[in-house]
Symmetry: D2
Subunit: 199 residues, 4 copies
């Protein structure tokens, strides 16, 4: 395999990229000069050097080689009674940006599809169990999953695996997302939108 | 204008229909025999004969010529303390199907866009004011609008126009609609999803 | 079935219309006054009165009750050696608007899908055979079908059914449609685009 | 700027990639182990080492460090009287795969938009002029551009810049692309489809 095909193949494994767009990436790199390529390689190397996975919440963060937990997990002004479990790093970022939640997080690393036979290999359930055992003040686990079938199944799976005597589980509230129209909303959404109406 | 063009023009005013599809409708009618056309005309005439607008909620319903209010407005087991204001008939149907709400409805007949100069001509605000004045038990008006700019503006407009000493206004709860993903949810939606989380 | 549901059902059989949009049409009619409904019914009745199918090319045209062929078929300055077979009325209109073809047309009334068992019931092949037998000057039949599988199959079917000693069959030229990009063009299109290049 | 943001920014300049997908690429890299990252870096370095731009047609090809023209330009059985000018490498590949054209190519490196002020900086027009001067047998230049406004403008621009006493210019044939439907075809396409009909 020549190096155009080799690199195309690697790019085509990037999330959401097909073979045609992968090839465009390769021609884009060919059209740029050597300095650019060096800069890209440098950025990839720096990524691996500067970014670590947090030993607590498992998200990737700028550790600059140090071995401490991330800034959120190290922030002891946050609410130790709550842990929000999210599927991926980008979900944690979205919730953090919304600015209301002040507890801690755990990034599960994905979701558990319904027919998954080895869920413990798809998500960090063992790590999560360890974290829960260590957090003595923990009272509520918020399962913040996408509002779809895989999300609901993941919620069920985590609940099952993480039961504890003094733990409450909660899930994100359903209702009208921004932009939603009544006519196209499903009964479940409308029911919750009514029950959670605000004055 | 010949009758193909004339009918095409009328069909092109149907909601969501452009000139090309309007013409397809005409050719479809031409391809069907005379019996079909008679049946269609009959159905249109029956619609106008059998369906009236409810004098209370303003929705269209099968009155069969009688002049009473619709089956929902005539149902005196419903909760007289609540009135849900929806933009259109289909929205009322969607909420009614979701099966949780047991108060009365009012169909506003549309929404009030932000720059609308004569909102009282776009929606049935005067009718709504009359209904509110007549309903002595009424405590809460639920403004069930689409979760978009026009919906929010309509909510503001109705609140302004319908103030009353003992009335509370509420709006549908925001949160994750079915199918919503955290990564793509806006901060407002995420904030509400967290605040309305369920255990 | 009440008249809202009855009319919704009829509209949902219109080409490209689903149940939800059909219902919107019904509410649209309900929102319009009685004069509008009368006008719509009148337009449908006029359509059936004023429009006939041409005895020659089979297209629908404004006959105003008279029984003659349509204006194209009645035009004896056109080229009697060519007959273009198109699937539907809208295709005839599109070609006629492009302004280059000056022969006669025949509207087949549809296409013949590959697994169709009774093609003679789907398209007007018998009518076409009659027309061909009557046109003594006819030399070329242009099979103007869509550039897809059904179109190609229809071309094969018509060729098979209409063979004649002095007849030539032709098909529309393949090449780049307006807006086409080389990168996404299939080999057949590119091959023809090269062979039919113009200087 | 931390290295997640830095690499995200670089990926967001890749063709067709926005900031959100760029960030997903970064998290994808973070989720892969160090071996994978090394492999990716190696593939990028190899690309730059093994691939050169052909001194004749300007396309990128596997030169493995050697300095000769590419395999197409080095093939002296091809037709020296024809040169096909294409916008990009992928267009050359698409035409070559279609298997009919047997002359030589030139990759222009892009297109010239209508309001472009410095077209000679956007495309390799000077290189093309040099190639044309050197090819004594050349008779026909095929301007193989996309069938859109920019493509047509590029055709005009190249014609203007490359006039020569014994040169003919041609453009790819217009007609029905695979999948095209008569009803939606523009008059230009239909006109050409008729004129280039095949028997």
């Amino acid at each position: 395999m020549n190096s155009i095909d080799k690199l195309s193949e690697m790019f085509s494994k990037f999330p959401g990229i097909g073979p045609r767009q992968a090839k465009r990436f390769v021609y884009y790199l060919l059209s740029r000069n050597g300095t650019y390529t060096q800069e890209l390689i440098q950025a990839i190397q720096n990524l691996k050097k500067e970014i670590s996975q947090c030993s607590e919440c498992q998200r990737y963060f700028v550790s600059l080689g140090k071995d401490s937990p991330c800034s959120i997990c190290a922030d002891d002004t946050r609410d130790t009674s709550m842990l929000m479990v999210v599927p991926r790093d980008v979900d944690l970022e979205a919730v953090e940006k919304s600015g209301t939640y002040k507890g801690y997080y755990f990034v599960l690393g994905g979701v558990v599809p319904i027919l998954e036979k080895e869920p413990e290999k798809k998500v960090r359930i063992n790590k999560l169990q360890g974290i829960i055992n260590n957090r003595k003040d923990l009272k509520e686990i918020i399962l913040a999953m996408n509002a779809n079938q895989d999300g609901e199944h993941t919620t069920e799976y985590v609940k099952e695996q993480c039961q504890g005597p003094s733990l409450t589980f909660s899930v994100l509230g359903r209702g009208l997302s921004t932009g939603a129209e009544l006519e196209y909303a499903d009964p479940e959404t409308l029911k919750n939108a009514f029950l959670h109406r605000t004055k």
